[in-house]
């Protein structure tokens, strides 16, 4: 079982890696993009000019989910030093393939239940970063002198990972405005920006101050709406997700409608793994990437984010790291502890 077709192509001592993604590919501005960024950076290339692509690293996108297992096996056959997959949808496929190739190193992001000795699993504390952006939004509202601000959250397809975003975000807001009205909406789709846009407009018209969307392509609708309204002079915001979406939000000069972004640095997984493989220290098991490890964070790119707000958020960040601020990973738990209001659409698994 698990015979290798090719010897590991050793070039200059650098390990080889293949990234396997779901249908959205490496331009999703989310974990695929981040994982790719990390890989490219490791080899000293840039995304725009990936010189070593095809020699030391490459990427294969699976059009449908029934391609996951074959793509994993194919990558293993071709003899890469390490194979990386992103997202929980890969967990079962990897769980099946990894034991068949015990000498092959695998990495998966966003999953902690594969449990194979040759699989390193990265799990990010999205609730922590989300807490900070929620906090930042609330503080910014306060700084703007808004008495009774409302907030919105738009999710793609509900699920455990997205719930961490929502719960953390809500906790962050409530820590400033304990009675703030919070709306949430799941489009049940990662690719329908028009739904997010219509909902965002609807909410902004109802007086919502800031909307955080963790919804893939659907979330682009929120940003588009926020740009328009800010362009018209309305004081509203969108919050980006996964990577710093400040650039996406720019509508004029340096003005961006994205107040801040909840950053999830999946690139650190790529970098960490590749380094370990090179050093020969790669080990299976779960790696928790929290704020302390700089796995998650928030962006300060937007100059409109008030300095006072940044100061307070930085303080909160220290408290999160130290554990002084208790955050929850599931809606159930958060609800039980009275940290979030009832009636949200979040689902725990």
């Amino acid at each position: 079982q698990g015979s290798k077709e090719a010897a590991a192509p050793a070039a200059g001592g650098k390990p080889t890696i293949r990234l396997l993604t779901d249908a959205t590919g490496i331009d999703d501005k989310s974990f695929n993009a981040a994982a790719w960024r990390g890989i490219v950076a490791y080899y000293g290339d840039t995304v725009a000019n990936p010189t070593n692509r095809g020699k030391l690293y490459d990427v294969v996108t699976a059009q449908t989910q029934d391609m996951y297992i074959p793509n994993l096996r194919q990558a293993a056959d071709e003899g890469y030093d390490v194979i990386m997959v992103t997202g929980f949808t890969w967990a079962d496929a990897l769980g099946e393939v990894a034991p068949q190739y015990p000498d092959q190193k695998f990495v998966i992001v966003d999953v902690d239940w594969v449990g194979q000795p040759n699989v390193q699993e990265f799990i990010y504390s999205e609730e922590q970063g989300s807490y900070l952006v929620g906090l930042a939004a609330a503080l910014q509202a306060k700084a703007d002198g808004i008495a009774d601000p409302k907030f919105g959250f738009i999710g793609g397809v509900p699920g455990a990972t997205i719930t961490k975003f929502e719960v953390g975000y809500v906790q962050g807001i409530l820590s400033v405005f304990p009675n703030a009205k919070i709306y949430d909406y799941y489009a049940n789709d990662w690719g329908k920006p028009e739904l997010a846009k219509a909902q965002a407009k609807n909410w902004y018209d109802m007086g919502v101050y800031c909307i955080f969307s963790a919804a893939g392509g659907t979330g682009n609708g929120t940003i588009a709406q926020a740009k328009e309204y800010r362009m018209q002079g309305k004081d509203i915001w969108a919050i980006g997700v996964d990577s710093d979406q400040y650039e996406d939000g720019i509508y004029a000069g340096k003005d961006s409608a994205v107040l801040t972004s909840m950053i999830k640095r999946v690139e650190s997984s790529s970098l960490k793994v590749l380094k370990e493989v090179e050093d020969g220290t790669f080990r299976g098991g779960v790696v928790q990437m929290g704020m302390a490890d700089d796995g998650v964070g928030y962006s300060q790119s937007n100059p409109k984010l008030a300095a006072s707000v940044v100061k307070q958020v930085e303080a909160a960040k220290a408290d999160v790291i130290s554990g002084k601020i208790k955050l929850y990973k599931t809606y159930k738990e958060a609800l039980a502890n009275g940290a979030v209001p009832a009636g949200l659409s979040a689902l725990d698994d």
Binding site: D66, D92, E96, V157, N188, L347, D349
Partner: protein, 372 residues
């Protein structure tokens, strides 16, 4: 009978033979794809290496053989072929079934339901699951047939709507299943799976499963129903000339409803096979797999016949399997979509060749007239 007729026609006019045209069209599609790859500065040879490997398992670059690729190509072909049969069957009765996707989704969904909740009796369990998948596909297609036959609702429109309804309905249902999270259910019991250990051994652990037998049975059934039974006779008559069929006492309304149901059954079967063969758990869909839509192209390339559709399905399966191999060689996977699209567009050449043939006939006659 039919075969002899076709053989004699073939002798007379090679290019009016649909088979020859299909081959020509496929070659043309690849030719354009090759040019495109070369234009963007990649080596087209790599594309063919990938295709060769997905077809034979042989890796030209390192001279290694891995039969698993053959297994995967066959396995990918199964849903293409079945969805192609779905489209093709409706097509033969004069209907345009855009709803393969919805029927496929419903088949998948119900197979998952039965796999998780059905009686865990070996053999019986998966048979029941597959049977239910076929049944729900038939229902999902049959509704379209009834709406068309009774209310003159265009099947194009109703199938489009039913595709989306199926997608979201599937989510609602699957989220209620045991152990359902937002993207998967609990694992299926062993009795529900259609894996085949012999295949796994033979094809070096590919996903190839018993579904391929079901596919072959479906292909034979398609041919058998269409060509050998009086049900098929009535359906073909309806497809060629609905009014004449009706005037001859053929129950056209029934033909349409039944054919849409059979059409749906093929797609439902595809859904069931993918659910139980390529996965060990139920999926909670967040988007479409697109096999149903691709089936339209498969049927068009296969000219809606059983054999042609099977071959066209293999072609599509092979291209799908080659996608990952191509990407490994830095050829964009989109090239396979472009090739597929071009192949379908070039099918229009079938009629162009007919026009050309008529032109030749005419020239011939004109010469006769002149020399006379």
């Amino acid at each position: 009978m039919k075969a002899t007729k076709q053989a004699s026609l073939q002798k007379k006019r090679l290019f009016q033979s649909d088979g020859a045209v299909s081959v020509l069209v496929v070659l043309l599609g690849f030719l354009c794809g090759t040019i495109l790859v070369a234009l963007v500065g990649k080596n087209p040879l790599n594309m063919y290496k990938a295709i060769f490997q997905s077809l034979t398992g042989y890796n030209i670059d390192n001279g290694k053989m891995n039969v698993r690729y053959i297994g995967e190509t066959l396995n990918y072909s199964v849903p293409f072929i079945l969805c192609g049969l779905s489209m093709g069957f409706a097509n033969r009765v004069g209907l345009f079934n855009i709803g393969g996707e919805g029927q496929y989704i419903m088949g998948m969904t119900i197979a998952q339901v039965v796999a998780l909740l059905g009686p865990q009796i070996p053999f019986l369990h998966w048979v029941l699951a597959i049977f239910c998948a076929i049944l729900i596909g038939a229902l999902w297609g049959g509704v379209v047939g009834i709406l068309k036959a009774k209310y003159e609702v265009s099947e194009v429109v109703s199938t489009i709507m039913l595709n989306y309804i199926a997608l979201y309905l599937s989510r609602i249902i699957c989220l209620q299943l045991p152990g359902a999270s937002t993207y998967k259910t609990a694992n299926f019991p062993e009795t529900a799976l259609i894996g085949n250990t012999t295949f796994q051994r033979l094809t070096h652990n590919s996903l190839l499963n018993n579904g391929i037998f079901l596919m072959f049975i479906a292909v034979i059934l398609f041919w058998f129903i269409m060509e050998k039974t009086n049900l098929g006779f009535g359906m073909r008559a309806t497809g060629f000339n609905k009014e004449a069929a009706r005037a001859s006492g053929i129950p056209v309304v029934k033909s349409i409803a039944i054919s849409m149901a059979i059409s749906g059954a093929f797609a439902g079967l595809a859904g069931g096979i993918v659910a139980l063969g390529s996965f060990k758990y139920g999926r909670v869909l967040s988007g479409m797999d697109n096999y149903g839509f691709d089936g339209i192209a498969v049927a068009l390339v296969g000219n809606s016949t059983a054999g042609g559709t099977m071959l066209a399905g293999f072609l599509f399966g092979m291209l799908k399997n080659a996608q990952a191999l191509m990407q490994g060689k830095q050829i964009p996977k989109e090239i396979t979509f472009i090739i597929q699209g071009l192949i379908v567009i070039f099918i229009a050449l079938r009629s162009a060749l007919k026009i050309y043939q008529e032109y030749l006939d005419k020239r011939q006659l004109q010469k006769e007239v002149i020399t006379k």
